[in-house]
């Protein structure tokens, strides 16, 4: 019996050790990383195609490294950011992840000590000359640069179907909000099912995106930027006016009362059942990926009221503190920042390169015009995509808009109050 119990003790303690003992991760300092894991929310369509092109280049350059593509679907990262947050909290950071330039990189990640300083990489690659200085500033905290921008997207783009517009008697793109409303009336009279296409699903981010555009269009870029610097009040008359415009726009759709993601909703444009759609220019890549043709199935213009204004956002890649395959990640960042990498990625992703020296002949007509506008327009950051807002504000803004919509788009004052509270909760 005695012998037996000793055996039991031994067995039990082995099991207990196996359960309680934390296995320490092996420290691979060698420069031959056999794995590389990238974390994005580009899981389908043009986004996945763009990432795929970059991945192919990477694999060709790093044949020894196994590539792990960890993507979590959901526009604007509505699902991915939560997964990333929990992985980082658990000390299981991917080797590189996608984050928007602006407050998202600076406040949500860099300021919290989650990212490595990449200033040295910028110097060795000469990137301080290849990226616009204003863009680098949006990934810089206390003089240190924390991420590598791969592209520039435009958020304030108006999309419509030329055939549907012709049917409704619309011959030119609306340039002001008033012209837009006049055209929406024409769509309505012509029997177009949804004059204003709205995407209420995916945690309401696309509705927040629309509001973001309306704010710029209604109050202009200076007042808009003041919302985040504190010089414009969220509960003031400018926002109240903008919310009236927003409310009026929603009345031309189903008030956002639908469970569509932007992809499902946007199909109304290419199918000809919808009038206008405000969405970032990734829509163009998505539609081309689905076989639609620019100019025939859909066309574009700057959002009415924001002609000459480029509301931008930029996807960047980072190097998280504690990345297991640091060298593989550095190779990825070098590729992402290179001319070759950006010109492979962007034509498919539907964005222009962040670099100033990209080869425009590779890009379609929309992107050529976007590149021209990027060079001359007044630039203003996107809130719904992390330039002027951090993750916390974005989550609150999505919820506030969702609340407004689920209440039937009636309580403008309540929406303004919720947005003001979200701004007040942002720690500078």
């Amino acid at each position: 019996m005695r012998k037996g119990s000793i055996r039991l003790i031994a067995a039990a303690s082995v099991i207990a050790l196996a359960i309680t003992g934390c296995s320490s991760s092996s420290d691979e300092a060698a420069n031959t990383d056999t794995e590389f894991e990238i974390f994005t929310w580009w899981a389908s369509g043009g986004e996945a195609a763009g990432l795929g092109a970059l991945v192919d280049l990477y694999k060709a350059q790093n044949p020894e490294t196994e590539f792990i593509n960890a993507s979590v679907a959901g526009g604007a990262g509505v699902n991915a950011k939560a997964v990333l947050e929990s992985r980082m909290a658990a000390g299981d950071a991917p080797d590189s992840f996608q984050a928007h330039a602006g407050l998202e990189v600076i406040a949500s990640y860099a300021a919290q000590g989650k990212l490595e300083d990449l200033t040295a990489l910028y110097q060795s690659e000469g990137w301080d000359k290849s990226f616009p200085a204003d863009l680098i500033k949006q990934t810089t905290l206390d003089g240190k640069i924390y991420s590598v921008p791969v592209n520039i997207h435009r958020a304030n783009v108006l999309w419509w179907n030329p055939a549907t517009a012709a049917k409704a008697g619309i011959t030119k793109a609306p340039e002001t909000l008033d012209e837009m409303f006049a055209d929406l009336e024409k769509f309505k009279k012509a029997g177009v099912k949804t004059p204003m296409v709205l995407a209420g699903g995916e945690g309401s981010w696309a509705m927040a995106h629309l509001l973001d555009y309306v704010l710029v269009a209604s109050m202009g870029p200076e007042k808009f930027e003041g919302l985040f610097s504190g010089s414009t009040s969220w509960t003031g008359p400018e926002v109240a006016e903008a919310l009236k415009v927003y409310q009026r726009l929603l009345s031309y759709g189903d008030k956002g009362k639908n469970s569509f993601g932007w992809g499902e909703a946007g199909a109304a444009i290419t199918k000809g059942t919808g009038g206008f759609f405000i969405m970032g220019d990734w829509a163009s890549a998505q539609w081309q990926n689905e076989g639609a043709v620019l100019g025939t199935d859909y066309t574009f213009a700057p959002g009415p009221g924001t002609v000459g204004i480029y509301q931008w956002l930029s996807d960047t890649f980072t190097l998280p503190v504690g990345a297991k395959n640091r060298n593989a990640a550095l190779a990825w960042l070098k590729l992402s920042g290179s001319k070759e990498g950006q010109d492979a990625f962007n034509p498919l992703k539907g964005s222009i390169a962040a670099r100033t020296d990209s080869d425009l002949s590779l890009y379609d007509d929309y992107l050529k015009s976007a590149a021209a506008d990027w060079a001359k327009d007044r630039l203003v950051g996107s809130t719904a995509h992390g330039v002027t807002a951090d993750n916390k504000f974005m989550a609150s803004m999505n919820a506030a808009v969702g609340k407004y919509i689920s209440g039937g788009a009636k309580d403008n004052a309540g929406l303004a109050k919720d947005l003001a509270a979200a701004q007040a909760a942002v720690v500078k």
Partner: protein
């Protein structure tokens, strides 16, 4: 020399050692984590910016009381829970009444009604997301199309997107899934009542209705209690079904979904853990008295 009790002692010790690993694992991963959660919920870790972590007492909890988002989620949860529990109980009870007499093909119907249980909430949520499509008339799909094609077009509505009925709609898939299980529990309850009782009542001249009303139903009280506990704790923790159907949308947000948003989207760990503790206490208030009751009963046997 023989020491009395050695054998007994070593057997006991051996037994203890056998269960020790699971005791340690449960202690660390269940109770340890609960304590850790409690610990964070008392601190000021409201964002990743906080540099100096301090204890701020119950402030996170008192903040919840006045947080309109939280009370909204809680009222959604109450609507969902009440609808779900009552409707499931009723549906399961009616089904069990129909099957209770030992009709032909009982085995088939029993598994037929029980099968929805085999589907995960998340898979069902994805399917119901489409069934709850809110387009009406010509463009109707899912449930609205069904109603339209059977001539009940006037019943078409916005389902999970409607202003007041969202949570009641949300309860439909949950009711559909769990009522078969409730039926099985009721059936077991009915079967536990000896046939002699019915026969005795019949001999005394009781009608069929009286037999159910006076003899059978009162004896189902423990079953009903069990069902309430099971449905109650499933409902209060509800997360996957809701997220599967309508994501994190405000209109159908319940407490667990708000916890997820607060913790991971907004990065407010203190608030998220406070909500978690709230859910834990809420469930414990239901489950713990029940477990004590059951344990006492078992001790008598």
């Amino acid at each position: 020399m023989k020491v009395p009790g050695t054998k007994r002692f070593s057997t006991k010790l051996g037994g203890l050692l056998f269960v020790l690993p699971s005791i340690i694992a449960v202690a660390v991963f269940v109770y340890g984590m609960i304590l850790w959660t409690l610990n964070i919920s008392l601190s000021n870790r409201t964002s990743g910016y906080v540099e100096k972590v301090e204890y701020i007492g119950l402030k996170n909890y008192t903040d919840l009381v006045v947080d309109e988002r939280f009370t909204h989620a809680l009222s959604n949860l109450v609507k969902f829970t009440v609808t779900f529990m009552l409707a499931t109980l009723l549906a399961g009870f009616i089904m069990s009444l129909l099957l209770e007499k030992g009709i032909k093909g009982e085995g088939f119907f029993r598994s037929f009604y029980l099968y929805p249980m085999a589907i995960s909430f998340i898979a069902m949520g994805t399917a119901f997301r489409w069934l709850f499509f809110n387009e009406k008339g010509e463009d109707a799909a899912g449930l609205n199309l069904l109603l339209r094609s059977v001539g009940l077009g006037f019943l078409q509505n916005d389902w999970i997107l409607s202003e007041n009925g969202a949570m009641y709609s949300m309860a439909i898939p949950a009711i559909w899934q769990m009522s078969g299980y409730v039926m099985a529990l009721f059936l077991a309850g009915f079967r536990g009542i000896p046939d002699e009782m019915r026969e005795a009542a019949r001999v005394d001249g009781a009608t069929e209705f009286q037999i159910y009303r006076q003899i059978l139903f009162p004896q189902l009280t423990p079953t009903i209690l069990t069902i309430f506990i099971i449905l109650g704790h499933v409902s209060m923790k509800m997360f996957d079904l809701i997220v599967g159907i309508n994501g994190k949308s405000y209109g159908t947000q319940v407490v667990a979904v708000y916890m997820w948003e607060a913790t991971f989207d907004a990065g407010n760990q203190a608030k998220g853990t406070a909500i978690s503790v709230f859910i834990l206490v809420m469930v414990a208030l239901v489950v713990v008295p029940y477990l004590r009751h059951v344990n006492k009963q078992e001790a008598y046997r």
